[in-house]
């Protein structure tokens, strides 16, 4: 049996992937198409890609794209993806989830992933609301928005992940709006090709529960950074704290060694961990030392 090639290869044929759980008009469809295009244009095969997701509507992506996938727990996609990448650095590893997944439950992991810098791409479907649990505020919900669980209006400061990531000297930081297809494909391609941890915050509307941040709202309240140098951290930070309109594009690139490059295991030997056999000789050496004084 020959498996299909090109874009077609990423279209799942499994029976369970037919029943798509996303609402009609959901921004997740757009992100799915963008991601498939990016993977295809990079010349990747489904078996070379692993999409690790958390929980939520965004996290259902592994079922709607034909690639290796692991649909895991809320907030835990990043550590799992880190484990996958270090086990097999030959894989293209994508951690995917929503704003609750990555910024609330998974917040601590995101911070430490920036420090650790594994060569994974983190795609955050940021619709500024909790969709699957029916409309509670998320860490990126704008101040003042009223929700069933914040009927008084959200008063917490929204999470500025871009500024935070740049402050932590992250390796690659970008933001896009899925309504801009071609630009988004290019950004995600760059993120995947980037050697270290790449964070892409992807705006997308929740047509069912976020009546404020609509397709039109994102178009009106964002702009592309055409004259920005992503290697200039200070300039990147200045852009990151702009609030309205919100800048889109690659904010910051900081090329540095990755986790997989730095761990002693890969210093002398590039064989992926999973292919290695136990070193019985080393155990014998240790036992001999323990036999002596």
């Amino acid at each position: 049996m020959n498996l299909p090639k090109g874009r077609e290869a990423f279209e799942p044929k499994r029976p369970g992937s037919k029943d798509v759980a996303w609402c009609p008009g959901c921004g997740n469809f757009g992100i799915r198409n963008i991601l498939i295009s990016a993977l295809t244009e990079l010349g990747l095969r489904p078996s070379q890609v692993a999409i690790i997701s958390g929980i939520g509507q965004a996290a259902k992506m592994p079922h709607y794209i034909n690639a290796n996938g692991y649909h895991t727990l809320h907030g835990r996609a990043i550590p799992i993806a880190t484990g996958v990448k270090v086990a097999n650095p030959e894989l293209t590893v994508i951690a995917e989830g929503g704003d609750g997944d990555m910024y609330a439950e998974g917040g601590n992991h995101l911070l430490h992933a920036i420090r650790r810098n594994p060569g994974i791409t983190v795609l955050i479907h940021d619709n500024q609301i909790y969709g699957l649990t029916k409309g509670q505020a998320s860490p990126t919900t704008m101040k003042g928005m009223k929700t069933p669980t914040q009927p008084w209006g959200v008063f917490e400061e929204p999470f500025n992940v871009i500024a935070l990531a740049i402050a932590l000297d992250a390796s690659f930081v970008a933001r896009t709006f899925m309504g801009y297809f071609r630009e988004s494909v290019e950004i995600i391609k760059k993120a995947i090709e980037h050697k270290g941890l790449a964070i892409v915050d992807i705006f997308h509307p929740c047509v069912s529960f976020n009546k404020v941040n609509t397709y039109a709202w994102y178009r009106e309240h964002t702009y592309w950074m055409d004259d920005h140098d992503p290697y200039d951290r200070e300039a990147a930070f200045k852009r990151a704290i702009e609030t309205d309109p919100l800048p889109l594009g690659v904010f910051y690139i900081n090329e540095k060694p990755t986790f997989e490059e730095l761990v002693p295991a890969y210093k002398r030997d590039k064989t992926p961990l999973w292919k290695r056999e136990p070193k019985v000789e080393e155990i014998k050496k240790i036992l001999d030392i323990k036999r002596r004084l």
């Binding site: 601590n108 080393e282 323990k290």
Partner: protein, 570 residues
């Protein structure tokens, strides 16, 4: 004069940071090298400096592997040590040290041999040499090999320069000569036969055995968040990470640690996490994911007393229930509890084959007592360890959760084979995609919680019966109490008492029930409720007739078990 024969317990006590560990190392290594069987175990406080920590070193002509309460020779390095161990001191205890470190009220109860440790150290050049002098005295009393002490000091202090080595050797010699003098003058008499065999045996701790076993079992990824008493395994693995070509990662928390390990297994690596009760509690969410996604994982859980922070540096067998019930929903798991250092090695290695084969969490349940214990042991047979891999290639049409008769689906990994592997923490179909189909849910629940569990049970090894099959009394013990109970039974000297020791705790092979029929069952456990006895009741409907329980954070001693058995049996 006090005379000791064949089996002595030497206890050193002092503040954290006073260098007791150095003395312990010199003694265990050089006495073993001199041909004695040695055993050591420590108890320490959860603090960096001060307090009182003690180490027990048993020196014997026979193999010794159990904690005893009695103290034959005590060396206090500060005031407060004697009151701390007062219930372990008897009239035959010999205390060697400086008068200022022995409280008045004890002078009448013990044999005190005053030695001017501080003065001797200052004569060598500094107070710093006091420990080495003390070690020298003990080695002298045992007529150990001074050359071994010298060799050891060269190794130990070599990096600090020639002068430090020379001064330490001088200090050891001074102590050694004093030890010989004490023997000659008849202040103390020690008669322990040497066994040439012990000389070349391996001196290994429980923590090292777990780490080495894991490495032998093919572990190539270890993630952890530091927590006593589990950290020793990570320290050992980290120090050898480069030589073994493995990844050892200190995660931001236990949640991250176990999830990284799950990711590594998903991608084909043999991964382990090492933690203790509180850390394991944080891992239970991911344990449930491992159950649903049928993602293998090996967890080393070194128990310490809880709840919450409990007694961070002490010991208990109190987390069996946690290991049994952690995680939401029903899914199988395997719980192993090594009884000694050899088992810590072999079972840690085996854990990886089990996880790989059954695709379930495998929990290695040790405790502070076991990880901090060490003794000399004969060969570890590396040939006995076989790495059995169960990974298949993802050929076109691969289904991660294919329904099979024994409940075990062939596990492929990403990047090996042309097709893809979809794993899922949601209820899923055979391909790994989400399902809410009622009938499929039933089949998947049964696959995991019934069929797979049955397969594991059927293949589970039986407990080890030490003693006669027709013994009237069966002492049921699990994990690290093995040799303590064994020695107590030996001392009890009755043919009608046998030990049934479990190092495979769950799931129990139904055949194990036969060991209990018609017996008087005495459960021995280091916890307040008798957690394993409760498990036996639940699994087999077996009721322990007596429970010998201890829960003060200290290990059982041979004497305590012996006393309790006498109370029950006689």
């Amino acid at each position: 004069m006090v005379e000791f024969q064949e089996d002595l317990s030497v206890v050193l006590g002092g503040a954290a940071g006073q260098g007791i560990q150095t003395v312990e190392e010199i003694l265990t290594r050089t006495l073993k090298f001199s041909g004695y069987n040695v055993y050591a175990n420590k108890e320490y406080m959860s603090r960096v400096r001060g307090g009182i920590n003690t180490t027990e070193i048993r020196v014997s002509s026979k193999r010794v592997r159990a904690f005893v309460k009695k103290i034959d020779i005590l060396i206090p390095f500060k005031r407060g040590v004697l009151p701390w161990v007062k219930d372990r001191i008897s009239e035959s205890t010999v205390v060697i040290g400086e008068k200022e470190n022995v409280e008045e009220e004890f002078l009448e109860k013990i044999h005190f041999i005053e030695v001017p440790l501080t003065k001797m150290a200052l004569d060598v050049g500094s107070q710093l040499y006091l420990n080495t002098i003390a070690a020298g005295i003990v080695v002298g009393i045992f007529r150990g090999e001074l050359s071994a002490v010298e060799e050891y000091l060269k190794e130990r202090f070599g990096s600090k320069g020639k002068n430090v080595v020379q001064k330490n050797i001088e200090a050891a010699k001074k102590g050694y000569e004093l030890g010989l003098k004490l023997l000659k003058e008849g202040a103390v008499k020690v008669e322990v036969q040497r066994k040439e065999k012990a000389r070349n045996e391996i001196l290994l701790s429980g923590a090292e055995a777990v780490a080495l076993g894991a490495l032998a079992g093919g572990m190539n990824f270890l993630s952890f968040y530091p927590m006593s008493p589990s950290t020793g395994v990570a320290v050992f693995a980290a120090q050898h990470a480069e030589d073994f070509g493995i990844v050892v990662e200190q995660a931001e928390d236990e949640i991250s640690a176990i999830n990284m390990a799950l990711g590594a297994w998903y991608a084909g690596v043999r991964a382990m996490v090492t933690t203790s009760g509180g850390g394991f509690a944080l891992m239970t969410e991911a344990l449930s994911l491992a159950g649903m996604a049928e993602n293998p994982i090996v967890i080393h859980l070194a128990q310490r007393p809880g709840p919450a922070t409990g007694l961070p540096t002490r010991t208990m067998q109190g987390d069996l229930n946690l290991a049994l019930h952690a995680g939401h929903g029903d899914f199988p798991r395997i719980i192993l509890a090594p009884g000694n250092i050899e088992e810590a090695f072999y079972l840690s290695a085996k854990a990886f084959n089990l996880a790989d084969r059954y695709q379930v969490p495998v929990i290695i349940l040790t405790d502070q007592y076991l990880v901090d214990t060490y003794y000399n042991l004969p060969e570890l047979e590396l040939d006995k360890v076989k790495v059995e891999k169960h990974i298949v290639e993802a050929k076109p049409g691969y289904r991660r959760y294919e329904l099979t008769g024994d409940g075990i689906s062939p596990r492929a990994i990403p990047g090996y084979g042309e097709d893809v592997v979809v794993a899922n923490g949601n209820e899923h179909d055979e391909w790994g995609d989400i399902t809410e189909d009622a009938e499929l849910t039933v089949r998947m629940q049964e696959k995991r919680a019934i069929r797979k569990l049955k397969t594991i049970k059927k293949n589970a090894p039986l407990p080890r019966l030490i003693g006669g099959e027709d013994a009237k009394y069966i002492i049921v013990a699990w994990g690290s109490t093995l040799h303590i109970v064994e020695e107590a039974i030996e001392k009890l000297g009755r043919d009608d008492v046998a030990l049934l020791h479990f190092s495979w705790l769950y799931p129990l092979n139904p055949e194990a029930k036969k060991f209990f029929e018609g017996k008087t069952i005495i459960a021995v456990e280091l916890n307040i409720t008798g957690q394993f006895a409760e498990l036996l009741r639940r699994e087999f409907g077996i009721e322990a007739h007596h429970r010998v329980l201890k829960y003060d954070g200290r290990p059982f001693s041979v004497e305590e078990i012996l006393g309790a058995l006498k109370g029950v049996i006689e």
